[in-house]
Amino acid sequence: MTVRVQTADFDLGAEVAALRAGDARVGAVAAFVGTVRDVNAMAEVVTMTLEHYPGMTEKALADIEAEARARWALFGVLVIHRVGELRPQDQIVLVAVTAAHRGEAFAACEFIIDYLKTRAPFWKKEATPDGARWVDARTSDDEAAQRWGPR
């Protein structure tokens, strides 16, 4: 597992190439990229600042990977999450998974981002023309994580 928390942007093509390099078992790569929208809850978003809890972040993501590996046969798993100040259209997060077949790859990729959104200690603060506000957690994210059920 590779987990990176960084301010810098990432290159999807380069990251996927590195994840599957030299591994001829791989028959499927699934990747998810989350990006900053310019509108949230009917307000214009000028910038978005992301913070995290160093130490716990890495542990939470490693635990999520372990749960994914217990459910599906996976080869490579990569999570990159950016922190700091971002702008609309910027990339925020990358989840990439390699497996033998698409079923495992699609499912594990979606599972990891669903769990990340409810368990990994990141927080978003939006700057809008009316001032800054912390983003509220969504119940739809809780529901997305819960639909995977108990282990």
Binding site: Y53, A120, W123, D141
Partner: protein, 90 residues
């Protein structure tokens, strides 16, 4: 009963850090404060933003040594206890 006070490190993140105006502190727990739930109640008794943010019913997540904990979790000397709002990453 252990007579020595339990000293822990408290960490506040995101909205709670801004509301409390402090990122971390070291506290010695009062007698009778030995669990996560008791710690939350103790901090709420500071009043002001503490009482408002930590009032019963407010969504607050608490992690002990980087692991999410429920109100019944026990506290031990040297623990790092973090308080934060529900997460919003991804």
């Amino acid at each position: 009963m252990n007579a020595d006070p339990i000293a822990i490190r408290l960490v506040y993140l995101a909205r709670l850090r801004e509301a409390f105006g402090i990122a971390s502190e070291r506290v010695e727990l009062s007698p009778g404060v030995a669990s996560v739930g008791e710690l939350r109640a103790l901090l709420a008794r500071r009043g002001g933003a503490w009482a408002a943010e930590l009032a019963p019913g407010r969504a607050v997540r608490i992690a002990v040594n980087h692991e999410l904990a429920d109100d019944g979790a026990a506290l031990r000397a040297g623990d790092e206890v973090a308080l934060f709002p529900p997460v919003t990453g991804g």
